[in-house]
Symmetry: C2
Subunit: 144 residues, 2 copies
């Protein structure tokens, strides 16, 4: 049967720390290229749901157990990752406590979602959609 | 660099025919296994956005040019397609006119979304989420 080659599939998370004031979210400093700050996330395993992949990646990369709240949107621009076409399902999640960097991260930080640092990939666009979601309740707009 | 194997990626569409009364949507009768009625859809090409894949599949399978309205949700249960783990992004779209079956379809039909025929894959679940969306405006619930 026909199983054509399709884009790689990933998940990314906006982890809200609900035990802090303001709109504090977790970002990781990447150890691997491309460098810079990014949302926690990673590739989905065959046999794993998107939701399970998101919880697993959150735990691996931040040490946090998260509760997924909503699918913000899917990001699929072929140019969003220069390593190859990767589609990401992005979830908004909640957690509390102190994040700790996993092995894949050079560092970890907590930032105001309204004033994030410069971000890798299209993660600045994703956070822009997140801020709109916080204001309006609307998911990420369809694009392309 | 590391490009792990990830699930296959597909799109499916709930195409609302806005020039008809009621909640009329387009279903196709599959030519290839598994048999039965199903939402129009198919695999995403590398280099193609999800939105472009959805519009392309709608045109190929139904002859309809569609306007995408909203991402209903992502369906990622590893058991949802017995041919292999396939994650589907499902869009609600609008169109008008007469659908025509493409080469991949044995037939095409217009059905009331409230009373669909028996459906292949997890498409009955998807339509159940769609009816909830129509009633409440809520996207598909997170699962798994």
């Amino acid at each position: 049967m026909n199983r054509p080659k399709t884009p790689s599939l990933a998940v990314d998370l906006i982890i809200e720390l609900t035990d802090r004031t303001g709109s504090q979210i977790v970002l990781i400093q990447r150890r691997n290229p491309p460098p810079g700050w990014a949302l926690p996330g990673g590739f989905v395993d065959v046999g794993e749901t998107l939701e399970a992949a998101a919880r697993r990646e959150a735990l691996e990369e931040t040490g946090l157990q998260v509760q997924l709240k909503v699918l913000l949107g899917c990001y699929s621009d072929p140019a969003r990752d220069s390593r190859g076409h990767t589609v990401s399902a992005v979830y908004v999640a909640e957690s509390r406590g102190q994040p700790r960097a996993g092995d894949d991260a050079a560092g970890i930080g907590v930032f105001d979602a309204l004033a994030p640092p410069q971000l890798a990939f299209d993660h600045a666009l994703i956070l822009s959609d997140y801020r709109r979601y916080r204001e309006t309740g609307m998911p990420a707009p369809l694009r392309g």
